[in-house]
């Protein structure tokens, strides 16, 4: 019989991506320019860092609101705890809350993608035609964000927070792949470290509630609970660690820019039903192997025998507990 295919990774040509300056500045490209990821598009002044401090701040002696602080200077006390400046900046007030904002520096907007400039909004943004590999995220919390992708090597439980703190030099504004399962503690720490977005194989529903509440992007490749990332997706992510990527919550996509020449643009075949035969790559959706990938070894009526990648053993599963993967 024929079964549906999950097209988790698809090539997309003719993708338009907008790259925008954080504030009005100046652009250095023009329409028709060919760009690569590290090409400079424009520059403006921007404050990179921001540390909310609440409304109960006892400012240090000889200092006052709107003063300048060097990195390491004592800003004041918050509920008995001494707070020092993590960077050069100013203590300001936004509404009732104190915020320590990094001093503005030159911000160079880089392309992040391979492509051609097709449009400009004067002094503000650049529209680039590019091509991407899109990876489907069935569940997302959050809107759109982008950043450099950091891929942790599917760490065992409890080590992923160590990876986050020690192995990622600078997590601010980055997109972190946090492993097969995103724990609440990991997500909480990522929020504290001002990560742009977190992706992984799966997460609990409560993690999505937290991400939504905190305005953090969280997306998973498989579903809720403890479901692993399909191996072929993880293998791809490993290869593109450090690449600038785009998360589109409304479209449930992780867009990974790829160089011209890596695939030939053309119409993607629309066949989504494939014959269930030995050798077919599939994903199983039946407990306790929910989300595991593998290869079909035999088909007997509605029963399918699949050799699983994750545990290197064969199991029997009944249709519809199996989908083909593309």
């Amino acid at each position: 019989m024929k079964i549906p295919t999950l097209k988790k990774m698809r090539n997309a040509g003719d993708v338009l991506i907008e790259r925008a300056l954080p504030k009005e500045g100046s652009l250095v490209v023009k329409i028709g320019d060919k760009v690569e990821p590290f090409a400079k598009l424009g520059m403006s002044k921007a404050s990179y860092g921001r540390m909310p401090m609440g409304n109960a701040v006892a400012i240090a002696k000889d200092k006052k609101l709107n003063d300048y602080f060097y990195c390491g200077d004592l800003i004041g006390n918050v509920l008995g705890k001494r707070i020092t400046a993590p960077f050069d900046g100013y203590l300001v007030k936004e509404g009732e809350e104190y915020v320590f904002k990094q001093e503005e520096r030159d911000y160079w907007l880089l392309s992040g993608v391979w492509g051609e400039v097709t449009g400009l909004v004067e002094n503000k943004s650049v529209l680039i035609r590019t091509q991407t590999k899109n990876i489907h995220l069935p569940v997302c919390a959050g809107g759109n964000c982008s950043g450099e992708l950091v891929v942790f090597p599917n760490p065992p439980t409890l080590l992923e927070i160590s990876y986050l703190e020690k192995y990622a030099k600078e997590t601010f504004g980055k997109v972190i792949y946090g492993g097969n399962f995103i724990r609440m503690e990991f997500l909480q720490r990522a929020i504290e470290l001002n990560v742009a977005g977190v992706i992984g194989g799966s997460a609990g529903r409560s993690a999505f509630s937290l991400a939504k509440k905190e305005g953090m992007f969280l997306g998973v490749f498989s579903g809720f609970g403890r479901i692993p990332t399909p191996k072929y997706i993880f293998n791809f992510l490993k290869e593109i660690s450090s690449r600038y990527v785009f998360l589109r919550g409304g479209e449930n996509l992780l867009r990974v820019p790829i160089p011209y020449g890596e695939f030939v643009s053309g119409k993607t075949p629309e066949e989504f039903l494939v014959e269930l035969t030995p050798g077919l790559r599939v994903q199983v959706f039946k407990a306790p192997y929910f989300g595991f990938g593998g290869v079909v070894e035999d088909v007997r009526g509605m029963n399918v025998y699949v050799k699983l990648d994750e545990i290197n053993q064969s199991i029997e599963v009944e249709v519809p507990g199996v989908f083909a993967v593309d």
Binding site: L6, S209, V319
Partner: protein, 343 residues
């Protein structure tokens, strides 16, 4: 003109090809369209048109030669002129029917649903369920609707929500159990039978049949396009499950079979008793009951023969999960260890 009726279920898709009352066929495809899974590369319309194309190849028919009648449970109308399947099913008044599905229950009295939550909803409150594993399991069914959930929790939820419907208010009419829940009937037979018995609460005698292939919605859609009475003219191969006799508080029942055996069966309060009768075998039953009065009736045996259920199923504690967990094992044992014959 021949008719092709298509039912777009929440977890499966069914097809009925109707040429004449003697020439018709069913097909069931155990997948349905999930926007979360497929929406990024294919629309619902293309998905179902693709399935239609495959079914037509299988049947070696040309779709253009058929009038297509489609029905959907809820949500999106992926095919042109899609009707509400439940509205059509409600018009089938010549039998009692209950449609049991993973997330919703319907009968001629209406439909109740506990659609699984998606990532878009806010705080999760689900019948006081705070077990995070269960919460994740139910949430996954919004992405993978064909993933059949097994176990006590799903059936309990079906029962709790079904209690809001008036089920089986008329005795002795053919009662048909249909729906996607029937997909796992054979694998979990005792649990499935117990679920059906728990849903039919009122005292009385009920002739229970099961639609193992969920053909009923396609028939209802077909009926909506035909003037004559489809069901009575088509040889529907429903499985006769049992004659169910609800006698809350207990009863003494005389059972006389057509092969000449006769036995008085005494069933205590809160017990379930199975009287073996071969499928199709006829029997006469006589009893006197506080709520039913004097009853004399003829029954036909089913897969389970005659089931006498003396549990008080209308009391509030019957719906409580603690009560059910306490007694479920003993109830299932009765259904699993069926006697082989009358002495």
């Amino acid at each position: 003109m021949p008719i092709l009726s298509i039912y777009l279920g929440t977890a499966e898709t069914s097809f009925l090809k109707f040429n004449t009352y003697e020439d018709y066929d069913f097909r069931k495809y155990p997948y349905s369209y999930s926007p979360e899974l497929f929406g990024h590369f294919i629309t619902g319309e293309k998905f179902y048109n693709g399935l239609l194309s495959e079914v037509c190849k299988d049947w070696k028919i040309n779709l253009k030669d058929y009038e297509v009648v489609a029905g959907v449970v809820s949500g999106c109308n992926y095919l042109p002129d899609c009707q509400s399947a439940v509205d059509v099913m409600v018009k089938m008044k010549d039998l009692n029917w209950i449609s049991l599905n993973n997330f919703w229950v319907a009968n001629p009295g209406g439909l109740v649903s506990y659609m699984p939550v998606s990532a878009e909803t806010g705080e999760f409150h689900f019948m006081g369920l705070d077990d995070s594993d269960l919460v994740d399991l139910f949430s996954n069914t919004s992405i993978y609707p064909q993933a059949c959930m097994e176990g006590f929790e799903l059936d309990s939820l079906l029962e709790i929500y079904a209690s809001r419907l008036e089920i089986c208010t008329e005795e002795k009419r053919l009662t048909l159990i249909t729906g996607e829940r029937m997909n796992t009937f054979r694998k979990r037979e005792s649990e499935s039978v117990l679920l059906i018995m728990d849903l039919i609460k009122m005292p009385g005698l009920f002739d229970i049949n099961i639609d193992l292939d969920n053909t009923f919605p396609t028939l209802a859609l077909l009926q909506s396009n035909l003037e004559s009475r489809t069901l009575s003219q088509m040889d529907m191969k429903y499985t006769k499950l049992t004659a169910l006799l609800n006698t809350p508080g207990g009863a003494e029942v005389l059972v006389e079979t057509d092969v000449g055996t006769s036995q008085i069966v005494e069933v205590e309060d809160n017990e379930i008793f199975l009287v073996p009768l071969e499928e199709g075998a006829k029997a006469r039953i006589v009893l006197s009951h506080s709520q039913l009065g004097e009853v004399e009736s003829y029954i036909t045996g089913g897969r389970l023969g005659l089931v006498i259920d003396a549990r008080e199923k209308t009391k509030g504690e019957f719906l409580e999960s603690t009560y059910r967990r306490k007694h479920q094992k003993s109830w299932l044992e009765v259904l699993e260890n069926r006697p082989q014959g009358l002495e």
